[in-house]
């Protein structure tokens, strides 16, 4: 399977199964197009009026060379390897919901204003420590383990965050485990003391801000409805600078109300941020701000505009990283990882304040998906298996999609939210992901 597309006068060809990516000039691109549609033998007859015989011969011979090297029209051989990579489930990452409470009331919050529909609660240190014990126990031979402090707003329970980190660090040393911590925060409660602690102990911090003041303040408000931009921006800037503009993300969400979101990304870049992630809202139909199918063409154009500016700034030595445009073509994940995705439900679990285990943060509070508790361990192995067995080959839409080895089958939570089936991907999410990958490949070809 191949995928070919043209963006800003660059013809890009992806050989899906080998991962090879090539830039074709117009002659070779048209020859390939003709080859695909009508077969090799009709190329000269169809294109001889447009290109010289020598040009066509060269292009045909170069395409043949790629084919022979296994870099074009290569076979998908991975499905037969699946049993080889099918190991016993080992948990390697936990999302700890240390606070099901929030000091903000973002309109698009998927966590029902922070409590996930289950009442406002804070996690006790004891529960967090049990989660660490559970993770060490369930991680088997894996050494690198990850903990994300999440909420609601985790800074509402920061003393417990610190206690858990102390405990995990000590237990990690005892059991030869390397803990990596992430904290996702709305930044309102950041101060000097917390910043210092975070910089000394937490490897990655995700700081929420949506972009332009009017965009941020329409969605990200305090409990009294007032905007947060002026309060959070200095704190977020200070935090990013104190980490020398590394190991953090400013993380925004765009909705159909700011479908010109490339301006928000550029706004963040103009403020000096170097690590930026701005992502489409995942909201139920009827919310008013959800991304609709009719919005997709406009959003795709925004991604193209952003990619153009992204390359321009890189060339002017004032570039920034945009999370969804980052693709590692040479040293990226192995194909075993690419087939199975984020690992939710079997390698990655979320823990509610009470210690209940769910497949990921987006399933928290959904009783049917509760798979156990940190005290008792995993009790519902059926759900764990269902997630583990889900891969690009169990999803009909993915099997035939050129982007499957880049997105790995999409987000199970989104699939469930929209289609009530983790193996039926969220169509709008897929369309946007394909566009982002095209932009990312175009960026690779032009930097």
């Amino acid at each position: 399977m191949i995928h070919k597309f043209r963006m800003y006068d660059t013809n890009i060809v992806v050989d899906v199964n080998s991962g090879a990516v090539d830039v074709f000039d117009d002659v070779a691109y048209e020859v390939l197009d003709c080859w695909e549609k009508y077969g090799e033998n009709s190329i000269k007859q169809r294109l001889s009026g447009k290109y010289s015989e020598a040009q066509l011969d060269e292009a045909i011979s170069e395409i043949c060379a790629l084919k022979e090297e296994g870099l074009l029209f290569s076979e998908d051989i991975y499905e037969e390897y699946l049993p080889l990579w099918d190991r016993e489930s080992q948990v390697k990452a936990l999302c700890l919901h240390v606070a099901h409470d929030c000091n903000m009331r973002c309109r698009y919050c998927f966590a029902s204003t922070g409590d996930f529909g289950t009442g406002r609660k804070l996690m006790k240190a004891e529960t967090g420590k049990k989660a660490i014990d559970f993770l060490i126990r369930e991680s088997g031979t894996r050494r690198n383990l990850e903990i994300d402090f999440f909420g609601g707003e985790p800074l509402l329970n920061f003393n417990v965050v610190k206690e858990i980190i102390d405990y995990a660090t000590k237990e990690g040393e005892k059991h030869n485990k390397n803990f990596r911590f992430t904290l996702t925060t709305n930044a309102l409660l950041l101060n000097e003391e917390r910043k210092k602690y975070i910089n000394e102990h937490i490897g990655n911090i995700v700081l929420s801000i949506d972009g332009r003041r009017e965009v941020n303040d329409k969605m990200r408000t305090r409990v009294d409805g007032s905007g947060t931009y002026d309060a959070i921006l200095p704190k977020i800037k200070d935090m990013a600078d104190s980490r020398n503009q590394y190991n953090y993300y400013v993380r925004g969400t765009f909705t159909r109300e700011n479908s010109d979101f490339s301006k928000d990304v550029i706004h963040l870049a103009d403020l000096g941020f170097k690590q930026i992630s701005v992502e489409p809202v995942v909201a139920a139909d009827g919310s008013g701000y959800e991304i609709r199918e009719e919005d997709v063409p406009e959003i795709c154009k925004e991604y193209e505009k952003l990619a153009y500016e992204y390359v321009k700034r890189k060339k002017e030595n004032r570039g920034f990283n945009f999370f969804h445009f980052l693709i590692d073509l040479e040293q990226g994940p192995c194909v075993a990882k690419r087939l199975t995705g984020c690992g939710s439900g079997h390698e990655y679990l979320a823990v509610s304040p009470e210690g209940d285990l769910y497949p990921c943060h987006q399933f928290v509070g959904m009783e049917d998906f509760k798979i156990g508790n940190v005290n008792t361990g995993i009790e519902n192995r059926e759900i764990q298996e269902m997630f583990k067995k889900s891969n690009v080959y169990t999803k009909k839409e993915c099997r035939d999609c050129w982007a499957k080895f880049y997105c790995s089958g999409g987000c199970a939570a989104n699939a469930y939210q929209f289609n009530k089936d983790i193996n039926l991907p969220y169509k709008i999410g897929c369309a946007l992901e394909r566009k982002r990958i095209e932009c990312a490949l175009w960026i690779k070809a032009n930097t």
């Binding site: 894996r142 050494r143 990226g332 994940p333 194909v335 997105c407 089958g409 989104n414």
Partner: protein, 46 residues
């Protein structure tokens, strides 16, 4: 080649028997939290 410029060669079919160690980061822990992005993850062996 005159008409084709390779950006990246075959990188998926390498060492199929010895991959899948699982030491890599889970993709959702990095920034996204709502949308799966895997291809930007780094392999721990590199």
């Amino acid at each position: 080649m005159k008409h084709i410029k390779t950006i990246s060669g075959s990188n998926l079919k390498k060492d199929l028997g010895s991959i899948g160690c699982g030491e890599c980061q889970t993709s959702c822990q990095s920034a996204c939290k709502t949308s799966c992005t895997v291809a930007n993850q780094q392999c721990e062996k590199n």
